[in-house]
Symmetry: C2
Subunit: 352 residues, 2 copies
């Protein structure tokens, strides 16, 4: 395996000195890029991209050709696990991901099993191939959905305004939800370990829906299982421990508890003040985030101003990875991303 | 004006002793009640109810006939102000509120003016009539949208997943947004003062969208104007100062700052832990909330258990008003609301 030419991300995740603040962008290989849309049209659809390691490699590298990003993230989807469990992942045009066979009765839930990793081989092949194609240019991030977030989709069958089926189960039949979460946390752990084995330099867990829970429900149904996944990671690699990142969207109230899971970094959405977050977590973890993605709709001047604001709010020192507070929107002008990446690198130097 | 027979809400808002924790429910007169749907069908639609003081009175009182609620809230909508400004409020079947003429260019924004209160007379007439019909049974809450939340709808034209038009203006042309917010805060102040004059016993400001802002943007574009409205309230009434409540959904990170606006109480969504919130705001304000509305989908046992949990999390003493953390869903079984109201009254007595 080649050593990293740019290891700023890994060093920042370990809270070690870097010459500037590294930056990458959630969903950086995506629909705001014309070249991505071309590849996707050629492939057929989103899932065809995910399942074809050649094409997944192609789109993973596209944003790196345009922008001086400090990381790549494997092109995939958080619902590959429920799909491998047999729930049938599909995408209807213009809609979010959906599952053909959501878990709506006890029998279906009791019949669920952790998936055979062979069914997810296309993901590990993609990791291996992207890692090879990167040739050490920047680190490669592997990822998974959190046990709770996967359960939301598995019970509901898709995204939802209020996740009524999931919430009804959570309050009326918590035992069933815990059964699903137990399986999910084992599946996520195995899945991330296989990505590490295939060459992922860091791993991230997306807890997209944890923030819709009450504090006690968050602790019981999301946090517990996040901690279990982190504890189960086999993080040894030839270049040292592979760092892990947890991102609970809307989790700003629970940062101390999230930091105590044993992860190396927390992703933060844009509502959180980085100076408050840093004071809250102390030396426990690095912080990743957290520009409002909507800033990228505005103007180069506003992008530089708001980038400076995010950098200043973290302040001087190590342990900050710049990112948006949520995935980049398809309506973002690519030239604004160029402004952002340049601004982060330039404006962060005085802080290091 | 009759004196209040049940003043538990007002006393709790003033952090004075009450024999139990008072409870009311956001959107308590709504589509989960069959009698509401009947009246609404007879009237034509939602706006016909709002604009007819007889019908607004009828539906406002409906939940009080079923449940031992400790407050009524005037049946109306937060978008009456933009409607009175000439933006054309309408409801398409199955969709949220929309405005026919959203503010999409500088000329339209510069042409905006605070509305003639005569155009909102139907609201003040409804307040007066409901207050008369209540005959002091419970207090009547008047309300308005926050200046920022109104601006969201005024710029966007309706609800939105990401409020792209609003956010673009916020970052690219903050001067235009401030112009709208200045007008809105004056309009909201006048509007709430007229409701107080017509007999509202308490007033509440719904900052439904403040929680989608970054911390500095929340301070600049929502908090400042909330404080301005509170400062402009003419709260004197024959029964003492009329208490005010601010509810910023998703505002759990900013409770100290919200408490410092001078309001009497903060509404809290269900993500916030009441014990943490109480420790944060100290003696500054009362707290209203914050059961996850989804609990009402579950079972009587789960409703009692989660109600106890919310009550215990606030703990013993004055200054708690029980409510949901968000408006009640149309899919709620009314008999579950009966369980909730009874549970709050019964289980809270040992805490007082």
């Amino acid at each position: 395996m080649p050593t990293l030419k740019n290891d700023a991300l890994i060093r920042a995740l370990r809270r070690q000195p870097t010459p500037y603040t590294p930056v990458w962008i959630m969903r950086q290989a995506g629909r705001y890029l014309p070249e991505y849309n071309k590849t996707r049209a050629r492939a057929g659809g989103f899932l065809d991209l995910c399942r074809n390691p050649d094409l997944a490699t192609e789109v993973t590298l596209q944003p790196l050709e345009r922008f001086a990003l400090d990381a790549a993230i494997v092109f995939s989807d958080i619902l590959t696990i429920p799909d491998a469990m047999g729930l049938g992942l599909y995408f209807a045009e213009g809609e979010g991901p959906q599952l053909e066979r959501p878990l709506r009765d006890e029998q279906a839930i009791r019949g669920l099993a952790i998936p055979d990793l062979a069914r997810l081989r296309y993901v590990f092949d993609a990791v291996r191939q992207i890692r090879g194609a990167l040739a050490g240019r920047v680190p490669l991030i592997g990822f998974a959905g959190s046990p709770f977030t996967l359960a939301c989709y598995m019970v509901e069958g898709g995204s939802s305004a209020d996740f009524r089926a999931l919430k009804t189960m959570l309050y009326a039949r918590p035992d069933l939800l815990h059964h699903i979460l137990d399986l999910n946390s084992r599946a996520v752990t195995d899945y991330l370990n296989a990505q590490i084995k295939a060459g992922a330099d860091a791993v991230m867990i997306f807890d997209t829906w944890g923030g819709m829970l009450s504090t006690p429900a968050f602790r019981e149904f999301s946090l517990t299982y996040l901690a279990r996944v982190i504890a189960g990671l086999d993080r040894a690699s030839e270049s040292g421990q592979v760092p892990s990142i947890i991102f609970t969207k809307g989790g700003g109230l629970w940062l101390s508890e999230l930091a105590a899971t044993g992860c190396d970094a927390l992703g933060l959405d844009w509502t959180v003040d980085l100076s408050v977050a840093r004071a809250t977590v102390g030396q426990a973890v690095a912080l990743q985030g957290n520009l409002d993605p909507s800033v990228l709709y505005s103007s180069p001047e506003a992008i530089r101003r708001e980038t400076q604001r995010v950098l200043s709010s973290y302040g001087a020192g190590n342990g900050h990875i710049f990112n948006l507070g949520h995935g980049i929107s398809q309506h973002t002008p690519p030239e604004h991303v160029a402004v952002l990446v340049e601004a982060v690198h330039e404006l962060s130097r005085p802080l290091h």
